[in-house]
Amino acid sequence: MTADRPPVRQNDAPPLIVATDVVKSFGPTPALRGASLSVAAGEIVAVMGPSGSGKSTLLHCLAGILVPDSGAVWLGDRRIDTMGEAERSALRRERFGFVFQSGQLVPELTAEENVALPLLLGGVRRSAALGDARAWLERLDLVGLEERRSGELSGGQAQRVALARALVGRPQVVFADEPTGSLDSLSGEHVMELLVAASRNEGTTVVLVTHDARVAAFAEREVVVRDGTVGAQLHQATRS
């Protein structure tokens, strides 16, 4: 890792996301066994842990993708885990942005159309949505690639398009699940720099799931999930 670490911030902002004693099982297999986590507004948190530890499940519960078997998840003063599917979908669409490891772009759409998609879903006029999308592509160093489709982009370019799509709706929280998992270290680092910079500029909270310590180092705080519970928490300041 050659990039400078992000400045350490002692975050005393009120918590935006709070999960308490979250339990989630898939059939007989327990994934979370009473995980609790609090994320402050504007904070960048990395969730780490070995494979199968439950870190992705925790992210999915925080994002309202999965409903916990027990426990509670709050976004500000709204309790997510008791919402219906439609309400959670609306929440994800309007308040959250997502970046996954790969394969998230609609293959038939161009890069700018993929980025504009959340805005179009929100009822924004086509021309305005495409204008915003182009602006984000420019911010993420993707000028000239607007008309390309996912199959015509490199892995790093496709992830940056996905990042633009996650940020274009100015979400409160970006959930990133192994966003650099399919990239080489240089490309991954570039994507992370852009994610961190953009979220700082926008004041966006970021919950980042990774098993890569170099990626986690871009976060202000690291939490470790082991056997379905949130264990050690490490602030960048403490670590450095």
Partner: protein
């Protein structure tokens, strides 16, 4: 390798089994349609063979061996009518003990006896005697067996006579055996025409079916290709991968063939009751020959295996995976040239009708062929135009995604519906032409007025006056017959057309008939006299096209008077009796029965409608076949689309499920799938139907100088029913969307 292929097909989990079942279901549907088509052709042939005896002539195509030693049989075949239904009446009289016996009866009926088919037996019992049974004096001594009937609904009667009596009948012939060689469909003057039509319909349906099977084999192609790439990585050769694919396809096709046979035999008795050719079949008619069975059992799996091998050649499966997705080349506007050329050719012949049948077949055949092939060629380009327009104008994400996907690979989108183009083009053109010709025919035969006039023409035999003068085509009509006719409720007038001996020539035939203007006035459809006239001339009525049209022209100015005393008319022999009725079944059938009983050895009376009904029955058969082709092809096309949609969903389940995770409502994704499938379906259906009707119009203008009459409600209903069925089938794939885009998919992918 075959064993490995079998293991991969049958024992690699739920997804493999689902894919196997989906392909098998598609093959089963295709095999079912194929078997029904083959059985339909066999059934028409069986009908024709059984009813060959009705086409007996002095020179049979296949005479019986004992013809030389048989006693001649006097026989006369006529088409009688009752309430629009055709009754095949055969009068017979033996001249000796070895006279041939028609099939379906144990022995010849004697004088005063008759055999009737089961359907006619029921009708004789249920219809009022005065309307039907009184035509056949004597008693029924049995029913005609199925082996002599086209269908369970056939109305056939075999009436016995004395030889001396039947020998007087003008159309009676002496025969020594009955024909046994099929000469085409019952009532069809052109041998093999119905078989040809069935073959065309089968072809029109088979193309969509083959495309459907092709679409099914592409189910989860991406997943399968990944697996094949993994096999290449561990050392499998392209040939081995290809062999495994062929085994998979063969197993699925074999399962589908078995299921297809089950579908066919399960539905056979129901299908037999559908009057595809105007008459229902006996269930046993819809049978398969061993050659048909062998062809399907061997041919379908072999074709599937070949198709699977060919399909793999389209993608490059290297050990590092399948070729990456790039934008395929766009179809160019040149694709529209054959379609435009076909339409232009048909348009060019308007006002330049080619002389001679061969030249006409060549001219119109080329035009129709070019237009049809042109539609298939132009299809991807038209799909691209439509989808680009949709994507460009899209304000909602669903339209944008669907439009882009269609524009991205319009060939694939069109492939699923290309079979529909052929079926809908042929059906629309055929129905347009049939409807117009039928309208033209109905109009030229006087429409309703013509159908309400029953005519007994005596043109079949000469009349000898008491002084020995031979008058062509005439008879004497007893006053009691006229009185009896006039007394029937619903009969409005009885007019006798008389022959004037001085203008009739035994060598040339009868001259124009004479009619009293008072009688003519009561049957206005035949024309009217000029004011003051008492007697006028009229072409002695034969229920043939054109007569009444000519009379309409005469009606405008009125027929000219003839200098012949009205009171002397009754002394002249009669060429024809015209019975004007109110059109009620009772009036027409009672009058027909009176005339048949009064003149048993003359031509049967008929209305113009009867002649039209005979043609209309056959044309209706075609129309029903065309309707069946429309509905079936739309349904099959929808199945192809649904399978393509499902395959597209399975291949895109990761981006779609991730979109759903990010909050995209399921409704948006549903709209994407609906638009992706419905747009090509509707676009292609409209284009094919429109071009079919346009081609029909140009043909009618060129050949008959007639404009296309809009097809009847049946056509629109068939298209609407087919589209509803198609859209319903597409909607059936939507639940799959919810399942495969659930959170679990994104987690597990």
């Amino acid at each position: 390798m075959i064993r490995l292929g079998l293991r991969l097909t049958l024992a690699t989990g739920r997804e493999a089994i689902i894919r196997l079942l989906a392909i098998a279901a598609a093959v089963a549907l295709g095999v079912g349609v194929l078997l029904v088509s083959l059985a339909g052709i066999n059934a028409v042939h069986a009908q024709s063979t059984r009813t060959a005896w009705l086409t007996t002539s002095k020179r049979n195509l296949r005479p019986s061996n004992d013809e030389a030693t048989a006693d001649p049989l006097w026989a006369e075949a006529n088409l009688d009518q009752y309430a629009g239904a055709v009754i095949e009446r055969v009068d017979v009289a033996a001249t000796g003990p070895r006279s041939p016996v028609p099939p379906g009866i144990p022995q010849l009926p004697g004088p005063g006896q008759f055999y009737a088919s089961p359907a006619l037996s029921r009708l004789l019992t249920s219809a009022p005697r005065a309307q039907l049974a009184d035509r056949y004096p004597g008693r029924q001594i049995g029913t005609i067996g199925d082996e002599a009937l086209a269908s369970p609904d056939s109305l056939v009667i075999i009436v016995g006579h004395r030889a001396t009596e039947l020998a007087q009948a003008p159309s009676a012939r002496q025969i020594r055996s009955f024909e046994t060689a099929a000469q085409g469909a019952p009532g069809d003057a052109h041998p093999g025409r119905m078989q040809l039509i069935l073959a065309v319909v089968a072809g029109a349906l088979l193309i969509p079916v083959l495309i459907f099977i092709g679409a099914a084999t592409r189910l989860s192609a991406a997943r399968r290709e990944q697996r094949f790439a993994a096999m290449r990585l561990i050392g499998a050769t392209p040939g081995q991968v290809s062999a495994i694919a062929a085994v998979e396809a063969t197993v699925a096709a074999a399962v589908g063939v078995v299921a297809g046979f089950a579908v066919f035999f399960g539905l056979r008795s129901v299908l037999a009751t559908v009057p595809f050719t105007g008459q229902p079949f006996f269930p046993s008619d819809l049978s398969l020959r061993w050659a048909n069975v062998g062809l399907v059992i061997v041919g379908v799996p072999a074709t599937a295996a070949l198709a699977a091998r060919l399909a793999l050649r389209r993608v490059q499966i290297s050990p590092l995976g399948v070729t990456r997705r790039v934008t395929p080349p766009r179809p160019s506007a040149w694709r529209a040239v054959p379609l435009l050329a076909g339409i232009a050719e048909l348009a060019w012949f308007v006002g330049r009708r080619p002389a001679g049948t061969t030249a006409q077949i060549r001219a119109y055949g080329t035009g129709f062929g070019l237009a049809m092939v042109g539609l298939v060629v132009a299809g991807p380009w038209l799909t691209m135009l439509g989808s680009r327009l949709m994507a460009r104008r899209a304000r909602r994400p669903a339209a944008l995604i669907a439009g882009r996907r269609l524009a991205d690979n319009p060939r694939a989108a069109f492939r699923a519906v290309s079979g529909l183009v052929v079926a809908l083009f042929i059906s629309s053109a055929a129905l347009g032409i049939i409807t117009t010709i039928l309208d033209y025919h109905t109009a030229s035969t006087g429409g309703t007025a013509g159908r309400n006039i029953l005519a007994q023409a005596f043109g079949d035999r000469d009349f000898l006056t008491p002084d020995g003068q031979r008058i062509p085509g005439a008879a004497t009509v007893p006053d009691t017959v006229v009185a009896h006719l006039a007394a029937i409720p619903g009969v409005e007038a009885v007019a006798e057309i008389h022959v004037e001996p001085s203008v009739s020539d035994p060598a040339m035939g009868p001259g124009p008939g004479l009619v009293a203007c008072a009688d003519l006035a009561r049957i206005p459809a035949l024309g009217r006299c000029r004011t003051g006239a008492e007697v006028t001339t009229i072409p002695w009525f034969e229920p043939q096209a054109g007569t009444i049209t000519a009379n309409h022209t005469a009606t405008v100015r009125g027929r000219p008077p003839v200098a012949f005393p009205a009171d002397r008319l009754p002394s002249l022999p009669v060429a024809a009796i015209e019975v004007g009725t109110d059109g009620s079944r009772r009036a027409i059938e009672e009058a027909r029965t009176v005339l048949e009983a009064a003149f048993p050895d003359r031509n049967l009376p008929a209305t113009i409608g009867d002649i039209s009904a005979d043609n209309a029955q056959l044309i209706d058969g075609w129309r029903q076949l065309a309707d069946v082709a429309i509905i079936a092809s739309l349904f099959i096309a929808a199945c192809s689309l649904a399978v393509s949609a499902a395959a597209g969903l399975i291949d895109r389940k990761r981006p779609f499920s991730l979109l759903r995770l990010t909050g995209t409502p399921l409704g948006v994704l549903r709209h994407v799938v609906a638009l992706e499938t419905a747009l090509p379906l509707l676009l292609v259906a409209a284009t094919a139907a429109g071009n079919g009707l346009l081609a029909a119009h140009l043909f009618l203008r060129a050949q008959l100088d007639e404009s296309l009459q809009p097809p009847g409600a049946g056509y629109y209903l068939a298209v609407a029913a087919g589209l509803i069925l198609a859209l319903g089938t597409i909607a059936a794939t939507l639940p799959l969307l919810r399942r495969i885009t659930g959170p679990e998919t994104a987690r597990n992918e």
